[in-house]
Amino acid sequence: MSEHESETNPTSSGLVGRAVALDEPGQDPSRDPLEPAVAYEPRSGVVGKVERSAAWRSMFRHPKLDTPRGRALQGFSNFFLHVYPVKVPARVLRLRYSFRLGFISTMLFGILTATGIYLMFFYTPAVGSAYAGMQTIRTGVGFGQLVRNVHRWSAHLMVLVVFLHMVRVFYAGAYKKPREFNWVIGVVLLLVTLGLSFTGYLLPWDQLSYWAVTVGTNLVHYVPVLGSTLQNLLIGGDQIGQPTLLRFYALHVAVLPLTLVLVLMVHIWRVRKDGFAVERSAVGASGAFAEEATEVANPAVPATAPAELYGGRTRVLGVVDRESVTAEERSVDDTVFSWPHLIVRHVVVALATATVVLALGVMFAAPLRGLANPNLTPEPAKAPWYFAGLQELLSHFDPLVAGILVPMGAVLTLVLLPYIDRNPSTIARHRKVAIVVFSGLLLIAVVLTVIGTFFRGPGWEFIAPWTHSYIEL
């Protein structure tokens, strides 16, 4: 479609069509015809010529307008920017709104992908060469040690940040209608993140990885009836070996990252569609989200309107989602443009995240113990820290209870949480039961993890962490 056609075609977007017409001969280049009161300065010189060239405009459809409409156009027509809404509520800019935990998780995944791809060039998932590959990465590859360190610490941080993100969402009550399903998707993302970290744990093929994964995969054995079959499917034999390494590698570099990307896309898309959680104080006495409050105040128009009002003839011009109608009725006075307000903040957070993992990578080396030895169990043999609570629980209770019923029950409870908790309020004083129960379970999980990580030594004996450290990361 030509530029002229796009302007005159009544079915095309008015915004885009008229914006394209800006460059037409006869137009005042310093005025946007839709915003004639706002002056802007078109670029001059070579850069300006390039930006106005047909080749450039075939890639970037909109002109660069430093006007509100121009910013909106940039958001609409740019693949990366369209992830953001054009405007966001001003409260979203505040750090304490979300602590940017979801964004940091995504950033960490990006860092893990980049560093992981680099490591893949030097690693072979074979029992005979995996460990040698790790040694080569440490000593013979440019920035190999640093990249591996950053990869390792980013992986641990991602598990932590995704978990904190979930906790933050719970306390904000942001899993309530209409965000129930996005909470479920978030739980899936947490599980995929754990899977990514756990499968990566085996790849160095050292004593730490071998025995941590041995302990971790043996949990599956306790699944009633199917336990042995599932464990054999997971590790490809009756003990950790070449098939296990290959399976974990495939899961780690292909299956789980693809799954995470797909699910993350849905997660972010739903954040856009479900809208940002509304401030509690602005909602009224019930504490329900604004959408709910608006629905009560403005009941939907009956589906069957009297025909005589329309001269005996009616025509359906379009179907509008009730949520959309109520959303439109909300005040937009407090909104600001995503570009630059939110995006600049995200860039700062992205840089801060990169700085932190880089600093960790420079200061602390990722561990690499001796070559995996199936005939020598190190003391103590600990699962990765995020499973240390489970391992601690296993030393007190029957494996069926501690290894299967408790973790599966926890996951099931998290998945069903928004459907169990039907209280629409997001105000803490109206959610005492939910908050007390969640906080109690959270405290137990944290205490078990801290004990398993810091207070357990050889033979799983209780030790004081200041006497000797057996922390394995």
């Binding site: 025995w211 490809g236 098939p243 199936p374 169990t377 296993l394 050889p458 004996e461």
Partner: protein
């Protein structure tokens, strides 16, 4: 009740889709099922039974197992802890198997004494072929339940397990 052509086609799609999912699931299961070569399964000749002295547990690395002489019986005991799969070494001083991971302790016959393990240690069938002891690692025998105590004797000495703090 006779169904319309549309209903018939719709149901056919559903049945076809379900069959496709079932076939895909089965195919994935078959593809991921461990190969025979990836599992244990060999028969291992262990030499003359008289080589194994009473009160000792001799490690056989190729089978990842111990041959234990309880004084009355010879047993082939897997090195794998039934709790979470750690290798359980035999402690010569105490005469017991002591798991370093979670502190499970087993007597020389692999019977549970203490710790979180739900059962005793897994065994392999032993036989005598000619004058040689042979263990069949293709088959396993679930460890004795807690409280069996058939071979339980007092510890012969101090435990190898570190005391921790």
């Amino acid at each position: 009740m006779a169904s319309t052509r549309r209903e018939f086609l719709r149901n056919t799609w559903k049945v076809g889709g379900a069959a496709l999912v079932a076939a895909a699931t089965w195919t994935i299961f078959e593809a991921l099922r461990p190969l025979a070569s990836a599992t244990s399964g060999a028969k291992i000749r262990l030499g003359n039974p008289a080589n194994y002295q009473p009160g000792t547990a001799t490690y056989v690395p190729e089978g990842r197992l111990f041959v234990a002489n309880t004084g009355t019986t010879l047993l082939a005991i897997s090195q794998k802890c039934p709790h979470l799969g750690c290798r359980v070494p035999f402690c010569d001083s105490s005469g017991r198997f002591e798991c370093p991971c979670h502190g499970s302790i087993f007597d020389i016959g692999g019977e549970w004494i203490e710790g979180p393990s739900p059962v005793g240690m897994t065994q392999f069938p032993l036989s005598v072929e000619g004058d040689a002891l042979v263990v069949d690692t293709a088959h396993t025998i679930t460890g004795p339940p807690r409280g069996a105590n058939q071979y339980l004797t007092p510890a012969t000495g101090p435990a190898c397990k570190p005391s921790g703090a």
